[in-house]
Amino acid sequence: MNAEAVIGIADIRPIVPELTLIFAGLILMMLDLIVKRKEIVAVVGIAGALVALFGTYKLYGITVDQVAFARMFVLDGYASFFKLIFYLNLILTICISIKYMVIEKASFGEYYALLMFSTAGMMIMASASDLIVLYLGLELMALSTYILTGLMRKQPRSNEAALKYFFLGAFSSAFLLYGISLTYGLTGTTNLKEIATAFHTLSITGDPIAYLGLIFIIVAFGFKIALVPFHMWAPDVYEGAPTSITAFMSVGPKAAGFAVLGRVLFEAFGSMQVEWGAVLIPMAVITMAVGSIIALAQTNIKRMLAYSSIAHAGYMLLGIIAGTQAGLTSTANYLMIYTFMNIGAFGIVIMLRSEGFQGENLDDYKGLAKSHPLASALMLIFMFSLTGIPPTAGFIGKFYVFMELINAGYTYLAIIAVVFSAISAFFYLRIIMYMYMKDPEGEVVLTTSPSLSIALAVSAMMVLIIGVFPSILLNLVRYSILGTY
């Protein structure tokens, strides 16, 4: 409706971090041609991410939401907070990848460039205030991730995972486009705020087409964040992909999916909260149930963590179901905490992978505490955090979600959630049990590298610090999204 808005040089300012990342990605591709040691590429990648992070930090302090490109792109605290998650995800992933990709014989410079592009896509998603820009960001993220999944091209399961991920991803994109077009047909706009206005002025809130558009959009993002029943791809893809990419995927695209889902549901479909609540509540319950229960039967740790990540998506969804800004805040908070604990856990899984040894079976963890007490202690921290036992950060994440959920009147959902939380405790405990309470069956060699150690140390420290002094994170997330402490 405001088609005559002019796009000028000032519009560039809010997207400087995204541009920096893409530019850094391009530099990495060039660098790949001239340097032999891919570690250098990785370090340059981290530097690029830090420069972009600095850009986001400089733009962070501005309290007024900045819009650009005819209000298709918005930079507010909400977007900035999610971008912080993406940066952490990117940097930690690069740190845990360097040695691992060499062992997998898949150490290409493109790997790091694609991580950059994928992260840029996520950042565009978090900032999108228009369905078209949203789609743009989504595809940039998704296409990069498809390639990353299949990077171990000599391994059939990696190929299978990439293909599966690509087909189902393409499928979900189609759903999204269908939802977008239905919504556009009904309201005549793709801008989120204007959709909300159109619902109001045209009084078409109860229109069946609006339902349909809403459901298609939820289905599309249900694929991205692996909500049951759209989770089928997740275990296979998580198992087949390089472990570092599994870590990356279990946090990044999921966080981006939640960022977008939150923004679309709250800004565009805010008037249909009852309707989308009715869709999301059963989805959240079966997501927690399927994730927690099927994880009990897994013997491959990557698959187990895949199901665990499905269950966690269920808990995160509860914050959105609460239907308040504070609920959304609790979801964002959970995602930040999840980043540290999940990448930490995958970091240990990567440690067990060494030349000629997969280290993905639960049996490989038998007696680990005897031979490698420090690595086991870190894994113990991450597992208890994923379970949600204080004084780890995982507890703070769950507590905040339950708080907002109960405040919104969904006490029964909180009770269901804690029951599944108790069920899920069993498979996390089982890993601890294998490490500490069984005797080792063979010699396990851990592959360590300085960058991996740093990533693990940072993750474990953050899990404990946030667990004991949650104010640090809470102030940040509340200030970013709610505007108050």
């Binding site: 036992i389 507590f399 104010s471």
Partner: protein, 516 residues
């Protein structure tokens, strides 16, 4: 705030008491030699005990108010404070915890040779967690300590325990976790009902709608009843007690299971008085079932340690019976009986650990004639047996007497049935003593060349003597301990009586009709 007395001392005595073990645990991380680790842990536990001593001399017994209070901002956006303090109900548990922790280190001196460092770190974090539970005055802080304690306990049972340790550890963890998580939901509901605060004192002053009280009571009951443990949810206890290493059993029996009862006293009763009165009947019945069922099961046990574990179910039944009699004698008797049980059963598990190190069996039938082989051991165990059955002159008598008195006061039939439990208790304990120490000696142990069973060492006697002293001290002069509780217990009774729905039994009856 009129309910608190800020810390009377010039230093934060409670914080030091709680966090000194944590500092010790961090120090252990950097140590290598097993002996250095043992001595440091012993030093830290003794230091913790001595640091906490000024609490006793400075404690004001004439008031129910929270003392030695420390309060500072912690999570301001949720209105949660670092808020700690103690009153007459919690003060004695601090000492029970610090003393038993020292003994746990002593008794593990020789038996723990595998992963020594991790074991002692677990003991110290455990101690900090237990102390934290008793001093926390913010529900969030309480929950943090309450749950954090599960981690070291899970490892203590699972790593250093007996044959079935993994099963017992996971069972223990899952049972308590389910209960605690339900309580967590209750805590959040209470947070909004009480005006967005988790300050325990403020929550106790506020009043809640009747229906909410019922639900909250059940949510809290889930957590506390599992921990106590009360009758239908007690099955984790025999497994955990039996499989845990000696130090783990002592901590479990001595302190950990007291926390459930403490939870009833600190949360359920003052915050939800109407619901407490509403649920008194079923809880009394469950307590009596626990007393009698626990005692009967003891008769059938073949394992020394498992028998004592089941006797805990029976004894904790007495504790909940006393507490929910809801009168002064009952509550004071209940608290005293918790201390008694901590001392007696703690000492018994210590002694079982000592004899197991020598014989490597816990099967009762393989013992026999030990009064001759280890006379000192037999003598000390005799004292414990008498204390456990409640012989006058020992602490068990005082606690059980108060509880039985309160039970009769509450309802004749409760008193009669509880007394039956005492008789059964005397039965299984004396029979146990007879089978182990008298009878014909097991030929295996008599032929001294094969399995020489030595009598107690000095280190072991030192570990037991303090507990024996307390058994007689409480037995002959219980007032030393009871006078700490009087003011607080009276205040609690007052809170129970002054309720929003006092005298409005019709309404409760109406609600009762609605449910069924």
């Amino acid at each position: 705030m009129e309910d608190i007395i800020l810390n009377q001392l010039s230093y934060s005595i409670l914080s030091w008491t709680v966090f000194l073990p944590v500092i010790g645990a961090v120090l252990l991380l950097f140590m290598r030699s097993a002996n250095l680790i043992r001595w440091t842990t012993l030093g830290v536990t003794i230091a913790t005990f001595f640091i906490s001593l000024p609490i006793l001399s400075n404690f004001d017994k004439s008031t129910y108010k929270m003392q030695f209070v420390e309060k500072s901002d912690w999570i301001p956006s949720w209105g949660i404070n670092y808020f700690i303090g103690i009153d007459g109900i919690s003060v004695l548990f601090i000492f029970l915890t610090t003393i038993l922790s020292i003994l746990c280190v002593l008794v593990s001196w020789k038996s723990i040779e595998n992963k020594t460092k991790e074991f002692h770190i677990a003991i110290l974090t455990m101690e900090a967690g237990m102390l934290g539970v008793f001093v926390a005055l913010d529900f969030f802080l309480f929950y943090l300590f309450w749950e954090a304690m599960l981690i070291p306990m899970f490892l203590l049972i699972g790593v250093w325990g007996g044959k079935n340790r993994v099963y017992a550890a996971i069972k223990f963890f899952l049972y308590t976790l389910v209960g605690s998580l339900l309580m967590l939901v209750g805590i959040v509901v209470l947070y909004y009902a009480g005006g967005k605060t988790l300050d325990i004192l403020a929550l106790s002053r506020a009043q809640y709608p009747l229906q909410m009280q019922y639900w909250l009571f059940m949510a809290f009951f889930a957590a506390f009843a599992v921990k106590v443990p009360m009758f239908p949810v007690h099955t984790w206890l025999p497994d955990a007690h039996t499989e845990a290493p000696t130090a783990g059993s002592v901590i479990l029996a001595g302190v950990l299971i007291k926390m459930g009862a403490y939870g009833f006293l600190r949360f359920s009763m003052p915050m939800l008085p109407d619901a407490t009165k509403f649920f008194v009947g079923p809880i009394m019945v469950l307590s009596i079932v626990a007393i009698i069922y626990g005692a009967l099961v003891c008769f059938a046990q073949k394992d020394f340690k498992r028998l004592i574990a089941y006797s805990s179910v029976s004894h904790m039944g007495f504790v909940t019976l006393g507490l929910f009699a809801l009168n002064t004698q009952g509550i004071e008797g209940g608290i005293l009986q918790m201390l008694n049980h901590g001392i007696i059963t703690g000492a018994m598990f210590l002694m079982i650990g000592m004899i197991y190190e020598r014989t490597h069996t816990r099967v009762i039938a393989e013992y026999g004639g030990f009064a001759k082989l280890v006379p000192w051991y037999a003598g000390l165990f005799m004292i414990l047996t008498f204390a456990s059955v409640g012989l006058p002159g020992t602490n068990g008598f005082i606690g059980e007497f108060l509880i039985i008195f309160a039970a009769f006061k509450s309802k004749m039939i409760y008193g009669v049935l509880a007394t039956t439990g005492i008789i059964l208790g005397a039965g299984y304990m004396l029979w146990l003593y007879q089978r182990i120490f008298f009878q014909d000696a097991n030929p295996d142990y008599e032929a001294s060349g094969k399995h020489p069973v030595k009598d107690l060492e000095l280190r072991e006697v030192i570990a037991l003597v303090p507990l024996i002293i307390f058994i007689f001290w409480i037995g002959f002069h219980p007032n030393t301990f009871l006078e700490y509780m009087h003011a607080s217990v009276e205040h609690l009774i007052g809170q129970l009586n002054e309720t929003a729905y006092a005298g409005n039994e019709n309404m409760i009856a109406k609600y009762f009709m609605e449910i069924f």
